[in-house]
Amino acid sequence: NSTLVIAEHDDAKLSGITLNAITAAQKLNQDISVLVAGASSAKVAEEVSKIANVKRVLVAQDDKLKAQLPERVSETVVAAQKQFNFTHILAGASSFGRGLIPRVAAQLDVSPISEITTVHSTDTFSRPTYAGNAIAKVKSSAAIKVFTVRGTAFEQAASSGGSAATEQSPIGDVKTDLSEFLGQELVKSDRPDLGSAKIIISGGRGLKSGDNFKLLYELADKLGAAVGASRAAVDAGFVANDLQIGQTGKIVAPELYIAVGISGAIQHIAGMKDSKIIVAINKDKEAPIFQIADYGLVADLFKAVPEITAALK
């Protein structure tokens, strides 16, 4: 029995969620291989080989795997599966993993499992449904267990201490006539990303405009925090969609979550309720966010936030 973790990377650096996925893989108590598929995977493969508990790094390098389109990477995964016969194939539940893993499952003719949060045994897992309002414990009888892992549910594996062997992996029957990558617009930021930040400051409709988010950025920079937003703030056009936290956006679980001017719609709470400490700042004492906050401050955010920032000087 052995486990394959699909590495997520941009041909230069490994994405953090792969480390969370490796921790989930460790709970299966089997040898772990990590597949690095890309156009120039060597550097990432070296990074992966140092991760604790990784036994083998499989490297599939080909120009056709540039931008790692799911139609192409899935062929590479299937080819690796043919050669090495894994019992478990998994990836982090990021846009990359969510796009890839079910496609791989279809090609292997097995029913996949999405976004597990607990590994009970090699065939039994828990996963949230109904936006986290019901947790399902499921047992898979699929011939190969193919699943994604919710990053916030598992610690990151240590990125050093390992010394995995590196091996070439087949590319597979990659077709280039199905899809084409045209480009991407990634939001550049010096702040930590939402997935890995220890502190998140999140703004809602109460911020009233995109410009006012600078109040949150100033505080975030003081605390080394990431900035997020509610769906209401994104829909109102205050900030870009990649900041959205909630059922339909990102799921986060930092040490400290500060909700500013957020009322606390069910769908927002679904995305942040696993945070360790929740602070809510809202002028409406009845706002539902206070029902789940550890510390609630009923105040005008336009006064309170600058006051906090100043107090941290």
Binding site: S95, G99, K137, L178
Partner: protein, 253 residues
């Protein structure tokens, strides 16, 4: 372009779901249901393509119990030309996995020569986010998931997708599968005249057997439970009191 749109009947998004006493699922009896919101967006995009004369025919399909027909009638009222109901009894429906649904939709898409399958990126009940990718995998078609903008470009779709760090754009050659994200469009409401007209539109019934779909379950639900409840804490008087509490907990320096 002929588009197949998958629509699922789910517990309405505004309902606070409760776990059943037998812990095998959530309470769905006497609970408001509606079309999965992401499927509504997928359908709306197809209807818009038809209005722009880029799509010729839109067929809505739902795999589920008798009541799935309500969802299909809604789809017809919102602009689908025809509906297909793959009917199973309520007990079977409860055990369906995205895997089975995707197999059925893939079979229809292939047999009836569809150019595209549109689905919502996920259903808000199981939150699986699998069906579109599975269909694409079964058919070996390209997939454009989490779409926030769609343009028809000859025999291809140019799709902007919502990804973790921002947006990306891919071109998928038809036939292809598309999964709709939240900001792709704002679905229309069904008007009364259209609801009346929808009653006369064709609704075809199929069984899993007609499609040759094996419904053997691969994922058994052992238990459904409530998440650990999070209880509210305390109100603090002012900013200083808040900072003192957070420092005490070691949450801030």
């Amino acid at each position: 372009m002929k588009v197949l749109v998958g629509v699922k009947r789910v517990v309405d998004y505004a309902v606070k779901v409760r776990v059943r006493p037998d812990k095998k699922g959530v309470i769905t009896d006497n609970v408001q249901h509606s079309m999965n919101p992401f499927d509504e967006i997928a359908l709306e995009e197809a209807v818009k393509l038809k209005e722009a004369k880029k799509a010729k025919e839109i067929v809505a399909v739902s795999f589920g119990p008798a009541k799935a027909q309500e969802t299909l009638r809604t789809a017809l009222a919102k602009g689908a030309d025809k509906a297909i109901h793959i009917e199973v009894d309520a007990k079977t429906a409860e055990k369906l996995e995205p895997f089975h649904v995707a197999k059925a939709l893939a079979k229809i898409a292939k047999d009836d020569n569809y150019d595209a399958v549109f689905v919502g990126k996920q259903a808000i009940d199981d939150d699986a986010n699998q069906t579109g990718q599975l269909i694409a995998g079964f058919l070996n078609w390209p997939q454009a998931t989490f779409a926030s903008k769609v343009e028809v470009d000859g025999k291809a779709l140019k799709v902007t997708r919502e990804i973790d760090g921002g947006l990306d754009t891919v071109k998928v050659n038809l036939p292809a599968v598309l999964s709709a994200d939240l900001r792709l469009n704002e679905p229309r409401y069904a008007t009364l005249p259209n609801i009346m007209k929808a009653k006369k539109k064709p609704l075809e019934k199929k069984t899993p057997k007609d499609l040759g779909i094996d419904l053997t379950s691969q994922t058994e639900v052992l238990e459904v439970s409530e998440p650990p409840a999070r209880t509210g804490g305390e109100f603090v008087e002012d900013v200083n009191a808040l900072l003192a509490k957070l420092r005490e907990k070691g949450a801030i320096p």
